[in-house]
Symmetry: C2
Subunit: 326 residues, 2 copies
């Protein structure tokens, strides 16, 4: 492997100048920089990240901690983060906690502590206080995303406003018997219902995990009930909304004629199922998280990080919602 000395020799300068020219730190004359760059190119020189990290204390690598990988939201966030990081010359090291137990502990006790990352993105994690203090003890830039991490500077989407928006869409169409399936997005639902002067019965809010199977099961229960069948369902995720759609179909109900359904996410399948939803752009969230960290890591090269800017969301009206039958 070709090293910095060879480049220095070919360019006729010292190793230090090569380092300066290639990293952009310190001043180098335009001519020298050009010669160094062409020498580096000719030799296919790439700095050794380890040597560079050891000497500079900066790794150009960001750790991303996720609770799962094969859910649409998480893999989208990681894709977005990866894109932004690559674009800025950073690697992404992935820590997936789905293994649980010892592996999970070792991520915080061992892996994150061996100085391999400059910063950490923690996605939608429910962490123990030990784990949080572990993260903070790294004393590195840290950003949470979509999670309940009180002590961690986070990019947060306004969950209440999202749920309110989805609910208001149904209210605006004239629905009053609305079922909510989901959990942490309950508040916005209640707010919107109350503001519309509608009662919120306990049985009109069902807690569920966010899977299609669960959306199916709960929707079928509710839609099959002989007394208070809802005319609309607001599911806290598109996967549940799709499950609900299939449940309605299986009961012979037509969407949106017999029942309107709205989800949250704008999942990749939402378009296929013609689902009305509130998009929340997870790739963009991942990108933003990465850019926020990079701005902190390289204050000179970037403007202020845009932390605490509310994350964007948007109602996307497709064909799963309509006025209720009169």
């Amino acid at each position: 492997m070709v090293g910095i000395d060879e480049v220095a020799r070919l360019a006729g300068v010292s190793a230090a100048t090569v380092s300066r020219a290639l990293s952009g730190n310190g001043s180098v004359s335009a001519g020298t920089r050009a010669r160094v760059e062409s020498a580096a190119n000719d030799l296919h020189y790439v700095v050794s990240s380890n040597a560079s990290s050891l000497a500079s204390g900066r790794t150009r690598n960001v750790g991303v901690v996720v609770p799962h990988l094969n859910r649409w939201f998480f893999s989208s966030v990681v894709e977005g983060a990866e894109r932004a990081l690559l674009r800025n010359g950073y690697d992404l090291t992935l820590y997936n906690l789905s293994g649980g137990g010892d592996e999970r502990r070792s991520v915080f006790d061992h892996f994150l502590r061996r100085r391999r990352v400059d910063a950490v993105i923690a996605v939608a994690l429910e962490l123990t206080t030990d784990e949080i203090s572990g993260l903070l003890a790294l004393d590195k830039p840290l950003v949470g995303l979509g999670g309940p991490l009180a002590e961690v500077p986070s990019l947060e989407i306004d969950e209440i406003a999202i749920a309110r928006l989805a609910t208001e869409h149904l209210l605006m169409l004239g629905h009053t018997a609305i079922l909510h399936i989901g959990s942490h997005r309950r508040t916005g639902f209640q707010q919107a219902m109350t503001a519309a002067g509608l009662p919120v019965a306990a049985e009109s809010m069902i807690c569920a995990d966010f899977t299609m199977a669960n959306g199916y099961a709960h929707a079928k229960q509710a839609l099959g009930h002989p007394h208070h069948r809802p005319t609309a369902i607001f599911a806290a995720s598109d996967e549940m909304a799709i499950g609900a759609t299939l449940a309605a179909r299986d009961l012979g109900l037509s969407v949106p004629k017999d029942v309107s359904i709205v989800g949250i996410d704008d999942h990749e399948l939402a378009d296929f199922f013609q689902l009305t939803t509130v998009a929340q752009f997870p790739e963009r969230q991942g990108e933003l998280a990465a850019e926020t960290l990079i701005a902190q890591l390289e204050p000179s090269r970037h403007e202020e990080p845009a932390l605490r800017v509310p994350l964007p969301f948007e109602l996307i009206v497709r064909s799963s919602t309509a006025r209720p039958l009169e």
Copy 2:
């Protein structure tokens, strides 16, 4: 941050001995090892990966290159690889090529070349010859997975046998009018049909990308045709098979009464849709790839790598297939 010297002082030995005790390289008496380990524990010492890498030439990090992340197959492979790597003390650095263009090039020209990884897993990639020679030039252990990488040692699943198995399942049930949707799994389909003495018309093999929308569209076309409607569909992925299932339902056809459908993957949704499929265990594939590499990286600690062992697959019969109506 506490360094190796502090541990050495506390344990009353030299830094060299600490290194040997903690890494397992070189001989250390049992007593010394115990003292070193307890000192390291007390101080919460974790080796600096950069210093260690620079001195030893080994990074304890593996690069995983994927063409996408938010597809079930890829994220499952990455999850499996991550699990196996973490368990063995390795980090996983992710390179997602879905950005394309310049970013893609820089992964091969820059990122992979800065000595940050000990080995590379290349998942289902169609690489240019330049990219392949780039990978080989790294001169590091390398394993391909599920891709057409002729020059790269690969873990391969027997695509032909899988397709044959799925087709034979339909044949066994008595189907003769079988439609195949997919592309690179065509050969096994043809083999099974021919072996059963059945003709394979061109229109009974449709090429498609692997999405649900595509499966839906193609199945609807075929099932709506007034003349030669298939009694069974073999889709080359579960997502397409699910799309086909929905198409059948929308036409008022019942699965499996009017049409049998079999997929490949055992996707997380396959169970929900009661889909008969051939499972291919992508998490296990990722794990195997990682273990193969680790065995090469640490020949002393592990038995021979099990490369070229055929990857497992298995027919899972659910409720989307049955005998055709007489």
